[in-house]
C-alpha cells in the first residue's frame, strides 16, 4: 500500500529535515526521526503501539519474537517480507505501514500471537503475572479469541528454581531472551542461557542443564523477573502472594544504598508484598539490585519495636506510653548533658569528676529530614558537636575531605557523567558490592568506551565486568599507588570529564583521602564520594559530623555559626568541633560522656565493637531510636521506636548529591494499614520523635514532620565558603607497621559484600541464598607458600578471634589475604566482622591452617 501523502503539496511546505534526522512516513503520517532510531520507537513517539515481547529499550535489539512485524517500503518498492520494527532503523523516504494500515502486518502479528500461544499454558488464573502480563494484554489487543490449535501442548516440569529467589516456569516462556540479554549486556552475569532447540528451547543455568553447577548467582537477577513479558520468571518470595490489581503501588526510593534508585513498592493490608525498579533514566534507569528489590520484610520482622520502652526497676525493658518514655528520656538526657547525673565513684567509694555531656551516633541510614532533626537536636537540645553519623571506619582526614569536596556542594558528578566520562578510577570502592547501581552505570559506560580503572587488590567480578583494568596494589599501599599511577590511567584521568570515585573505605588507609584530593588537583579529574549507606551523603550535608553544621558550614567558622544560630533563633551554638564516632565511644567508655543517643547503628559495623560495648555499658544514659531490636537495645534506658521508610515521607540525598524525595508508602496512622504483625505500630519519623523529645527538654526544633524539617533545611541553604581548607593527611604518613614475629608478613585486604546479613536483610532467606559465598583469597604463590590448596579451610586470625573460610586463589599481590569484612553466621542471626576480630584493611593478619575447634565463629 504505497501511501503518498494525501496532499502532495504538504511535502513542500514542510520544514527542512533537521540535521542528523531522516524523514519517513508511518501510517500515512510524515515524521522526522533521528538517524539510527528503531522503527518501533518512532512508532511509539507517534502514539502507534506496535505489539512486542523481545524488544526492550535498554537492551540490544534481538528480533526474536517477531511480534512487531510491519510492512516497509523503500525507494518505492515494498520489501518482500514484513520487517521486525524492533530491529530496523529509520531511513530517508521510508514508508512504513503498521497493523493500523496494513492488512499484511496485521495478519503477521495475529499469526505470531497465535503461535506464541499454542504452547503457552492456560494457567493465567494462578499466574503471578496475570493482570499485568504483556502476553495477556497483547493477546487481547492483537490476538484471535479462539485458538485453532488442537494438538498436545509441550509441557515441562515446573517451576524450576534457578536460584533461591527466582523461579522458572518454562512452559510460560516465550523465549524473548530479555532475561538472558539483560544478564549478558546489563549485569554482565552469564549464569542463564538458552538451552536445547526448537520447541524444547528453554532458559536454563549450568545447574538445570547438567544437574550440578552454578545457578543464577547474580546480584541483579530480580530485574529479569520484572522485564519478563510473561510469567516465566517469578519471585520466590512473591509467588502466589497477591494479584497485581489488589495492590497499591507507591513510588519510593531505595533505602539500601546511596544510589537513590527509584523503586515502586506494591503493598496491601499494611505490608509491602514486593519492590520493583522504578523508571528513572537519570539514576537507575530501570534496574535495581536484588538487595533493594528483595529486602523489604525487615519492616515485618518479629524484632520490630512498635512501642516505646523504658528500663524498669528490675532492669528489664517494658513497653510504655510515648509520654512516659519521652519524659524519661528528656529527664535523663538533660541530666547527662548538664553533668547532673549520678556521681561516679571510684573503687574506694571516692567521688569522681562528674560525667558530662551526651554524644550522638545517629547511624548512616537517615533521610535528609531526619538527619537534619538529629543535627539540630544535638546542637540545640544537647548543646554539643559530639555527633557523627559514620558508623564505620572513619578518620579526621575524611572530615577534611568531606568538607573540601562533598559537604554542601550540591549535585556533582552524576550517573550520566559517568557514562560520558573518558575514564573513571574507583578508589576504595568495590562498586558491585558497595554501590551496585553505580556498577551498572560503569558497566554501561565501559561498553561504550569509558576506560574504567579500579584501584584494588584483585580482579573481582566488578573489575572483570567493567573492562578488567585493575591498578593492583598491596592493601595499605593505595597512597603510593595513586602517586605512581600507570601512564594510561593518569593520562585518562587528565582528559576532560574524567572522574575519580572514592568510597568510604578510603578512611581505612591513612593519607588516602589526601592522596585522592591531590590526584584530582593534579589531573583535573572530577571527584565523587560514594558511600555505602543511603543516609551518609545527607548526614554530611546536614551536619551530622563533628566538624560541620548543616549546609556544609564549618563548626569553627564563626560567621557561619552565628548566621545559623540566628536562623535557628538561638544566641549561639557550640563552638568547638566535636568528637567523632570513635572519640565519642572512647569518651563514654572512659567516663567522660554521660550519655549516648544512638540511632540505627549496628555495633558490629563499628571500627571497634568492643569499645562500643564498653561505651554503652559505661554510659549513664543510653537512648535508642530504632526500628528493631539490636545489640544497642540491650544497653538502652529508653527505646523510642522510629518509622521505617515505608511509613514516612522524606528525602535521600544520593551520592550524586541529588535529592530523591519520596512520599509515605503506607500511612501508619491509617488503621490496619500500619499494622505490624497484628499490632498497630505507633512509630514516628525520627524528626518527629526528636522534635517532641526536644520539647520535653524545653527546646523547639520545628521538625514535627519531614515536610517542615525539609522546608527549613532548604531555607537554610548552604553556607559553603568559597575556599575550603586542604585535606590533611596523617602528620607522619609512614608506612603501616610491618611486624610479624614469625616473619610471614601477611596484609589484610577487605571490603563488604552486598549480601552479608545486614540489619535490613532480616527475614529474607531467599535473598540470603544468593549471597556470594564468603571466601578467603590468596595469590597462587602465597597459597602455595602457606600450603593451601583451593577450597582448603583457612583461619584468619586477629587479636580478638578468628574466622575460618575456604581458600580461593585469585590474582592478588603476594602476601596479601583478602577476606569479606563481614560474614553472616550460619544461624542467620550472628555475624562475624573482621573489625570485631581486631583486623582492618591494610593491617597485619595471620593465617592459620584451620582447626576443627573454631567453626567459623569468633573464638
Amino acid at each position: 500500500m504505497t501511501q503518498a501523502p494525501e496532499k502532495p503539496s504538504e511535502q513542500d511546505d514542510l520544514p527542512p529535515v533537521p540535521e542528523g534526522h531522516v524523514r519517513l512516513t508511518i501510517d500515512d503520517r510524515i515524521v522526522d526521526a533521528p538517524q539510527g532510531e528503531l522503527l518501533i520507537r518512532t512508532c511509539e513517539r507517534l502514539g502507534i503501539v506496535v505489539p512486542r515481547f523481545c524488544d526492550h529499550p535498554l537492551l540490544d535489539p534481538a528480533g526474536a519474537c517477531r511480534q512487531c512485524l510491519v510492512e516497509v517500503e523503500m525507494g518505492g518498492r515494498k520489501m518482500p517480507k514484513p520487517q521486525a520494527s524492533c530491529t530496523m532503523t529509520v531511513a530517508q523516504d521510508m514508508v512504513v505501514n503498521t497493523q493500523m494500515t496494513s492488512a499484511v502486518a496485521d495478519k503477521a502479528q495475529q499469526g505470531v500471537m497465535e503461535l506464541l500461544l499454542i504452547n503457552h499454558p492456560l494457567d493465567c488464573p494462578v499466574c503471578d503475572k496475570g493482570g499485568e502480563c504483556p502476553l495477556q494484554n497483547q493477546a487481547m489487543s492483537s490476538g484471535r479469541a479462539e485458538s485453532r490449535f488442537v494438538e498436545e501442548k509441550r509441557t515441562f516440569a515446573k517451576p524450576l528454581p534457578i536460584s533461591s529467589e527466582v523461579l522458572l516456569d518454562r512452559e510460560r516462556c516465550v523465549l524473548c531472551q530479555r532475561c538472558t540479554r539483560f544478564s549478558r549486556q546489563i549485569a554482565g552475569d552469564q549464569f542463564i542461557e538458552l538451552l536445547e532447540r526448537g520447541a524444547h528451547q528453554q532458559i536454563g543455568t549450568e545447574e538445570t542443564a547438567f544437574g550440578e553447577g552454578e545457578d543464577f548467582q547474580s546480584y541483579f537477577s530480580g530485574n529479569t523477573i520484572q522485564i519478563c513479558p510473561v510469567g516465566a520468571l517469578t519471585s520466590a518470595s512473591y509467588r502466589f502472594r497477591s494479584r497485581p490489581f489488589d495492590l497499591v503501588s507507591t513510588p519510593g526510593v531505595s533505602e539500601h544504598d546511596s544510589s537513590g534508585a527509584a523503586v515502586r513498592r506494591d503493598w496491601r493490608r499494611g505490608a509491602v508484598t514486593r519492590v520493583l525498579a522504578g523508571d528513572d533514566p537519570e539514576v537507575n534507569e530501570e534496574w535495581i539490585d536484588d538487595k533493594t528489590r528483595f529486602a523489604f520484610r525487615y519492616t515485618q520482622s518479629a524484632q520490630r519495636i512498635t512501642r516505646p520502652m523504658i528500663r524498669g526497676e528490675d532492669g528489664s525493658l517494658v513497653e510504655t506510653s510515648w509520654t512516659e518514655a519521652l519524659e524519661r528520656a528528656a529527664g535523663l538526657l538533660t541530666a547527662a548533658r548538664d553533668g547532673e547525673g549520678p556521681a561516679p565513684v571510684d573503687t574506694d567509694g571516692e567521688a569522681l569528676e562528674p560525667k558530662r555531656g551526651v554524644g550522638v551516633l545517629p547511624g548512616g541510614r537517615l533521610t535528609l529530614e531526619d538527619a537534619y532533626a538529629y543535627a539540630k537536636f544535638a546542637r540545640l537540645a544537647l548543646r554539643t558537636n559530639d555527633v557523627d553519623a559514620r558508623a564505620r571506619v572513619h578518620s579526621g582526614e575524611e572530615l577534611d575531605f568531606l568538607a573540601a569536596h562533598v559537604a554542601g556542594t550540591g549535585l556533582g558528578v552524576t550517573y550520566g557523567d559517568l557514562e560520558e566520562a573518558p575514564a573513571v578510577l574507583t578508589v576504595a570502592l568495590e562498586v558491585e558490592e558497595e554501590a551496585p547501581i553505580v556498577f551498572l552505570r560503569l558497566r554501561k559506560a565501559a561498553r561504550t568506551g569509558t576506560a574504567v580503572h579500579h584501584l584494588g587488590q584483585w580482579s573481582s567480578p566488578a573489575v572483570v565486568k567493567t573492562g578488567g583494568r585493575l591498578v593492583r596494589c598491596a592493601p595499605g599501599r593505595e597512597v603510593e599507588a595513586l602517586a605512581t599511577l600507570p601512564d594510561p590511567v593518569a593520562d585518562g584521568l587528565a582528559q576532560p570529564g574524567a572522574v575519580v570515585l572514592v568510597g568510604e573505605r578510603a578512611a581505612e588507609v591513612p593519607g588516602l583521602y589526601a592522596a585522592v584530593s591531590e590526584l584530582v588537583a593534579r589531573t583535573g579529574a572530577r571527584v565523587a564520594w560514594v558511600p555505602r549507606r543511603a543516609g551518609e551523603r545527607g548526614a554530611v550535608d546536614t551536619g551530622l559530623v563533628p566538624t560541620l553544621l548543616p549546609g556544609g558550614r564549618a563548626v569553627d567558622d564563626e560567621t557561619a555559626r552565628a548566621a545559623l544560630a540566628s536562623s535557628w533563633g538561638v544566641a549561639d551554638l557550640p563552638a568547638t568541633p566535636g568528637r567523632d564516632t570513635a572519640a565519642i565511644l572512647r569518651a563514654a567508655a572512659d567516663g567522660e560522656l554521660a550519655g549516648l543517643v544512638v540511632g540505627g547503628v549496628e555495633i558490629a559495623d563499628l571500627p571497634d565493637p568492643d569499645l562500643a560495648r564498653a561505651a554503652l555499658g559505661a554510659a549513664d544514659v543510653v537512648v535508642s531510636l530504632e526500628l528493631a531490636r539490636s545489640e544497642v537495645t540491650e544497653y538502652a534506658d529508653v527505646v523510642l521506636p522510629v518509622a521505617p521508610v515505608i511509613n514516612k515521607a522524606g528525602t535521600f540525598r544520593n551520592w550524586e548529591g541529588r535529592d530523591r524525595r519520596f512520599g509515605t508508602t503506607i500511612d501508619p496512622s491509617g488503621g490496619s494499614a500500619g499494622r505490624v504483625g497484628g499490632t498497630a505500630a505507633t512509630t514516628l519519623p525520627d524528626c518527629r520523635v526528636l522534635d517532641t523529645l526536644a520539647v520535653e527538654m524545653d527546646v523547639d526544633l520545628f521538625t514535627q514532620t519531614p515536610e517542615v524539617a525539609g522546608t527549613e533545611l532548604a531555607r537554610l541553604g548552604t553556607g559553603r565558603p568559597a575556599t575550603v581548607g586542604p585535606v590533611r593527611g596523617p602528620e607522619h604518613p609512614d608506612q603501616p607497621e610491618t611486624t610479624d614475629e614469625e616473619g610471614t608478613e601477611l596484609r589484610l585486604a577487605s571490603w563488604r559484600q552486598l549480601l552479608d546479613g545486614g540489619a535490613l536483610l532480616a527475614d529474607e532467606p531467599d535473598l540470603a541464598g544468593t549471597a556470594r559465598p564468603p571466601r578467603i583469597r590468596l595469590s597462587a604463590t602465597t597459597a602455595r607458600r602457606l600450603g593451601f590448596a583451593e577450597d582448603d579451610p583457612a583461619e584468619v586470625e586477629g587479636p580478638r578471634g578468628s574466622l575460618i573460610l575456604p581458600v580461593e586463589v585469585a590474582d592478588l599481590p603476594d602476601d596479601v589475604v583478602w577476606a569479606p569484612a563481614r560474614v553472616p553466621g550460619t544461624d542467620g542471626t550472628t555475624v562475624v566482622t573482621l573489625a570485631g576480630l581486631g583486623l582492618g584493611h591494610g593491617g597485619p593478619v595471620r593465617l592459620g591452617g584451620g582447626s576443627p575447634m573454631s567453626d567459623g565463629s569468633p573464638s
Binding site: P61, A62, G63, A64, C65, R66, Q67, L69, P80, K81, P82, T87, K107, A108, G111, V112, E114, L115, L116, I118, N119, R148, F149, E151, E152, R154, V174, L175, E193, L194, E196, R197, G198, A199, H200, Q201
Partner: protein
C-alpha cells in the same frame, strides 16, 4: 550430441586413492595456486566475478561480488575501520540439508581441490586464517580433511611463505556439533566462536563483521573447490558450461527411486529428464511422482517439470529453487502427506528456537501432519496448514522457517487431493462413526 557430463570437480574422483596429495598433484593440482599467487588479489576477485560463479550452497549469490564486499585498505592509505581488521575465510561444510550429498563426497574424494580453493580465495581476500566448518557427524570426512590439510602443510602449500610468495595461511578444520541451523552462515559463525549456534541479526553482514567481528567471507565447499579450475581454465572456459546467468558445472546428487543414485556433474541448466537418463531412469520403471530440485527446503516439483532447466533462474521460474541441487526422486508408491510429514518433523527437530514463527510453527505443523497421516485429520486442517505456513513464511528470523513450509505448501499445491483423501478416510473411521452415533448426530 556432446557428453552431458562435465567432470571438473569430479574428474579426479574415480582415480586410485583420489584423496591423496600425490594423486591430486599428478592431475595438475596446486598449479592454479602458483598462478594465483602471481596474480594481484584484486585480479583474482575480478576473474571470479567475470566468470559468473555463483554460490553453490543454495542461494546462488555471485561469489566474486561477495569477495569484493570485504573492505580492503586503499593503496597507500592507513587502513581504518573494518579494513584494518584481519580478514577471515570460512568454508561452510555443514552439509545437512535433507537429500543433499555433494560436499561430503567431494571432501572425501578430492579434499585438496577444496584446500587449494581456500588458499586462492584467502589470497584474493587477504585472509591469513581459514576455517573449514564441517558437520560433526561426518567423522570420516573430518579425518580425511585433517589428513589432507596435514599433507598440504608438509608440502608447503599451507603455513608460512606459501610457495615462496610471502603469503601465509593457516587452515583449521572445525567439527560442528550437528545442528542444521549452523549451516546458516551467521549461526555458523556464532557456533565457531564458541557460542550457541543461532542466526545473528543482520546488518552487520559477515563481510564487515563476521567471525570475531572481522570481515569474513563464508562460502560453500563446492563454490571454493570450483575456484582453482577457474584460475586454470579462465572465465571464458568456465562460461562454456551452463547458461548465461548460471554458468559452470554443478554436482547434481540424485537420490531416491532412480536406478543409479549418485553425484552427476553436469552444466547448470541440465534438466531432470537428462539427469534421469544418466542415472538409468526410474528404479524398476515405476513412474515419477514428485521430486525436489535442491533438498527439502525447495518446493517440490512433479513429473510436469521434467524439462525445467535446473539452474538458478529455471528452478525459480518453475516455482521452486535450485537449492543445493539435491534431487530427491519419489515414485508413485510414496504418499506425499507422509513424505511432507517426515520433512516437517525434521524442521521441527532442527528449528533453532530463536524466533517464534519457526519454533512454534514447525511444532504445530508437524503435529497437524502427524495427526492427518494417522487418519485423524479433517479438511479444515488443510486450511490451517496453509494459513500457519503463511504465518511462518517470510515472518521467521532466517530462511529456515521459509524452507520448512516449502514442502507443505508445494505438497498441497500439487497433491491436495491426497491430503483430502486422508481426511475422507478419517470420516469413515469407526471411532468417529461410533461417536456420531452415540451423540445422535446421525439422525
Amino acid at each position: 550430441m556432446p557428453d552431458p557430463l562435465t567432470p571438473v570437480l569430479t574428474k579426479r574422483w574415480l582415480g586410485p586413492e583420489s584423496w591423496t596429495l600425490r594423486h591430486y598433484t599428478e592431475l595438475g593440482g596446486y598449479e592454479a595456486l602458483d598462478k594465483a599467487l602471481n596474480t594481484p588479489p584484486d585480479d583474482i576477485v575480478a576473474l571470479v566475478k567475470d566468470s559468473g560463479l555463483r554460490g553453490r550452497g543454495g542461494a546462488g549469490f555471485p561469489t566474486g561480488m561477495k569477495w569484493s564486499f570485504i573492505p580492503q585498505a586503499k593503496p597507500g592509505e592507513e587502513p581504518r575501520g573494518p579494513a584494518a581488521k584481519p580478514k577471515y575465510l570460512v568454508i561452510n561444510a555443514d552439509e545437512g540439508e535433507p537429500g543433499t550429498c555433494k560436499d561430503v563426497p567431494l571432501m572425501m574424494a578430492d579434499p585438496h581441490s577444496l584446500i587449494e580453493g581456500c588458499i586462492i580465495t584467502s589470497w584474493a581476500i587477504r585472509a591469513h586464517f581459514c576455517v573449514i566448518y564441517v558437520r560433526g557427524e561426518v567423522v570420516h570426512v573430518l579425518r580425511r580433511l585433517h589428513a589432507a590439510v596435514r599433507e598440504a602443510y608438509d608440502a608447503g602449500h599451507l603455513g608460512k611463505d606459501i610457495h615462496g610468495s610471502g603469503f601465509d595461511l593457516d587452515i583449521v578444520v572445525h567439527a560442528g556439533a550437528g545442528a542444521y541451523i549452523c549451516g546458516e552462515e551467521t549461526a555458523l559463525l556464532d557456533s565457531l566462536e564458541g557460542r550457541r549456534g543461532q542466526p545473528r541479526l543482520k546488518p552487520p553482514f559477515p563481510a564487515t563483521a563476521g567471525l570475531y567481528a572481522a570481515p569474513t567471507v563464508v562460502n560453500n565447499v563446492e563454490t571454493i573447490a570450483t575456484v582453482p579450475s577457474i584460475v586454470t581454465g579462465g572465465k571464458d572456459w568456465f562460461r562454456t558450461m551452463g547458461r548465461e546467468r548460471s554458468p559452470g558445472p554443478k554436482i547434481y546428487s540424485l537420490s531416491g527411486h532412480v536406478e543409479r543414485p549418485g553425484q552427476y556433474e553436469a552444466p547448470l541448466g541440465t534438466t531432470l529428464r537428462e539427469l534421469l537418463d544418466l542415472a538409468g531412469g526410474m528404479k524398476d520403471g515405476i513412474p515419477l511422482k514428485f521430486w525436489t530440485p535442491g533438498g527439502s527446503s525447495t518446493p517440490l516439483l512433479t513429473a510436469d517439470h521434467l524439462d525445467v532447466p535446473l539452474d538458478f533462474e529455471g528452478a525459480t521460474e518453475a516455482g521452486s529453487m535450485l537449492g543445493t541441487t539435491a534431487l530427491m526422486i519419489f515414485n508413485e508408491t510414496v504418499s506425499v502427506p507422509w513424505a511432507v510429514m517426515k520433512w516437517t518433523e525434521f524442521y521441527e527437530h532442527e528449528s533453532c528456537g530463536k524466533c517464534t514463527p519457526c519454533r512454534e510453527g514447525c511444532y504445530w505443523l508437524a503435529g497437524i501432519l502427524r495427526r492427518m497421516v494417522d487418519g485423524e485429520g479433517t479438511e479444515s486442517d488443510i486450511d490451517t496448514l496453509l494459513d500457519v505456513c503463511d504465518n511462518v513464511l517470510g515472518r521467521s528470523f532466517c530462511a529456515l522457517g521459509d524452507g520448512a513450509v516449502s514442502p507443505i505448501t508445494s505438497g498441497i499445491k500439487y497433491f491436495r487431493q491426497e491430503f483430502v483423501e486422508l481426511c475422507t478416510a478419517q470420516q469413515r473411521h469407526p471411532e468417529v462413526d461410533r461417536i456420531v452415533e452415540l451423540s445422535g448426530a446421525s439422525a
